[in-house]
């Protein structure tokens, strides 16, 4: 399928590795689970050493764990960083002991975290510090398929589009291979918010429903389809809409929360069709890890 990548403009956006954030005293340090239980858990952000793209999205003792490194920029630069960085973009460390090391953008987190999530090799993580500057060579904004004008692409680099190998179906619909399909009733936090710079979460306060839809085996980096969900100009329910997204962060104990999905392809009116496959993860597709799926 042809696209307009030859017309795209690559620009630098930059952020620094954020510290995990907790409320200042005398505020309670706890987050409250869906059942009312207060818990103190590592919040999203920072440098995460032992959870990487390709690892399970469930089971970690953390709130919405973001694999690898999370970056943000001060003030108005953060919306630019979050808006322009695309999944699959190259990231380069430009300060500190890891200067010159290269990584890959794997996702963006939603309201109240608002980070860009970047994968680096474990040895690189060992030489990084909070506050280190990471530059993203942002390219992908405005990417469009020549023969599918009503299908919108978002936060997706040309490299990831190539790796997905999307195809045209018999009725002209876009066919995308995914790991799982998520019913709209499970879409929670992030509904009503921007579809350009964050994620929308698969809520997990119904464990039976989660396993019924095969979602309990999700991994960070999995390609999924959100059914009846329109992410063209914000995130929300519309029958026969569909959105392809990448699982970018882990589960949460909060009501309405769970693994986050950054939208990358979206359309209404049945223009996107999913094809369920056993394995579809950007760690494989972008060559970030080998042997994804083997237990750690």
């Amino acid at each position: 399928m042809s696209d307009n990548r030859s017309q795209l403009v690559g620009v630098a956006v930059q952020g620094s590795i954020v510290s995990p954030q907790c409320p200042a005293l005398p505020a309670s340090p706890y987050i409250i689970g869906a059942d009312g239980a207060p818990v103190l858990l590592p919040p999203p952000g920072g440098i995460v050493y032992n959870v990487a793209i390709g690892d399970p999205a469930f089971g970690w003792v953390a709130d919405m764990v973001q694999p690898g490194v999370s970056i943000a920029a001060p003030g108005g630069a953060n919306p630019a960083l979050r808006g322009l960085a695309c999944i699959g973009n190259e990231a380069i460390v430009v300060s500190g002991r890891a200067r010159g090391e290269r990584g890959t953008v794997t996702g963006k987190s939603g309201r109240f975290a608002e980070h860009v999530i970047v994968h680096f090799e474990p040895l690189v993580l060992d030489s990084m510090a909070l506050g280190d500057q990471v530059l993203v060579r942002a390219i992908g904004r405005g990417l469009a398929l020549s023969d599918a004008a009503e299908v919108q692409l978002k936060s997706i680099s040309p490299a990831l589009l190539d790796a997905l190998e999307v195809q045209s179906g018999e009725s002209g619909e876009l066919v995308v291979r995914v790991m799982a399909e998520v019913p709209a009733v499970l879409m929670g936090a992030g509904s009503g918010l921007t579809s350009e710079a964050g994620c929308v979460q698969i809520q997990t306060d119904d464990p039976a429903g989660i396993s019924e839809h095969g979602l309990d085996g999700l991994r960070l980096g999995d390609v999924v389809m959100l059914k009846d969900f329109d992410c063209r100009w914000g995130n929300g329910f519309v029958q026969a809409a569909a959105t392809i997204g990448i699982v970018v962060h882990g589960d949460s104990v909060r009501g309405g929360h769970g693994p986050g999905v950054t939208p990358i392809i979206t359309a209404t009116g049945g223009r996107i069709r999913s094809q369920l496959v056993a394995d579809r993860n950007i760690a494989d597709l972008l060559g970030l890890r080998t042997a994804v799926g083997t237990p750690k």
């Binding site: 509904s191 009503g192 306060d205 909060r254 009501g255």
Partner: protein
């Protein structure tokens, strides 16, 4: 007789100011159909609409009826947001209308207060309004699995909850909203502002008759637990209040403010037309409400996807 801990609750003052409608140098928001649009709706003093009017059909986005207040100091502002309860009394304490009395009818980007129009003709942006806050911590003693949010004893009485033969609490509601329509606000806790029901699929909204709801209507959302967070939980029930009007934005629509929620489904809704706080709290008459009929107008943005 519904036993509560109301005699143990503490009544105290929180405050805010009539807050101006604000804009910036690029005030377009994108509609769910991909158009740039500027709509009035939030903040300031709304002269044309009060609680009890239809929630749909206006050329407005997130219409806040009546008077919208907030406080510039962060601590005061959050006290106002968390502690003002629906049905609390409000008093104007500065300006030409000092002494005018109103009623809290919602909590959104601002706390929403309804006044009899004749009492606030000279109300100005910046005027101070004090809320006599009571309701936080209200418990239904014989129904421990039902939580309350922002429910004043006055509104609890107006809701006229009944206990059925099986001993289960019942609430009269004008409509039930399916959980898959619950949108913006899932990222917040159940004690902070509201959650919109999503109206982007106009066909489905019309099929369900949800485009008939009014500001101030009591509604139910099944399979949603809004105890601490806001999320899908099969068997749970949440009873809420429509506080603001429809929206052109994806994932948005009229706001549902949580009043009662039970994770185990220990409160059951039944349909009861006319269950609206404008009537229940004696703020307006049914004759007044009949001057604006739901469905009389369709917002220009409410087109099919």
């Amino acid at each position: 007789m519904l036993r509560t801990n109301a005699p143990q609750l503490v009544e105290f003052a929180v405050h805010g100011r009539v807050w101006p409608a604000r804009g910036d140098n690029s005030d377009y928001r994108t509609t769910s159909n991909g158009r740039g649009a500027t709509h009035v709706g939030m903040a300031g003093i709304c002269f044309t609409h009060r609680v009890g009017d239809p929630a749909f059909g206006w050329e407005a986005d997130h219409l806040e009826p009546g008077v919208s207040i907030r406080h510039p100091d962060d601590g005061d502002e959050h006290a106002l947001h968390y502690l003002a309860c629906i049905g609390n009394e409000a008093v104007v304490t500065s300006g030409a209308c000092a002494g005018a009395r109103g009623t809290v009818t919602g909590e959104h980007a601002h706390v929403l207060v309804d006044f009899p129009p004749a009492e606030i003709e000279m109300l100005a942006v910046g005027d101070e309004i004090l809320i006599r806050s009571i309701g936080t911590g209200l418990k239904l003693l014989d129904h421990p699995d039902v939580m309350t949010h922002k429910l004043s004893p006055r509104l609890l009485e107006a809701l006229d909850l009944q206990v059925n033969a099986a001993g289960t609490l019942e609430a009269g509601v004008v409509a039930e909203i399916p959980s898959h329509l619950m949108g913006s606000g899932a990222e917040l806790t159940a004690d902070y502002v509201d959650q919109d029901f999503m109206t982007g699929d106009r066909d489905q909204i019309a099929e369900l008759g949800l485009d008939r709801v009014r500001l101030g209507d009591i509604v139910a959302v099944r399979d949603e637990d809004h105890g601490w967070g806001r999320g899908f939980h099969p068997g749970a029930v949440t009873i809420g209040l429509i506080i603001h009007g429809d929206s052109a934005w994806t994932g948005h629509g009229p706001g549902v403010l949580d009043l009662l929620s039970s994770r185990s489904g220990a409160i059951v809704p039944h349909l009861q037309p006319g269950q609206n706080i404008a009537l229940g709290l004696g703020l307006r008459t049914s004759e007044e409400l009949s001057t604006h009929q739901p469905g009389a107008h369709v917002s220009s943005y409410a087109t099919r996807v």
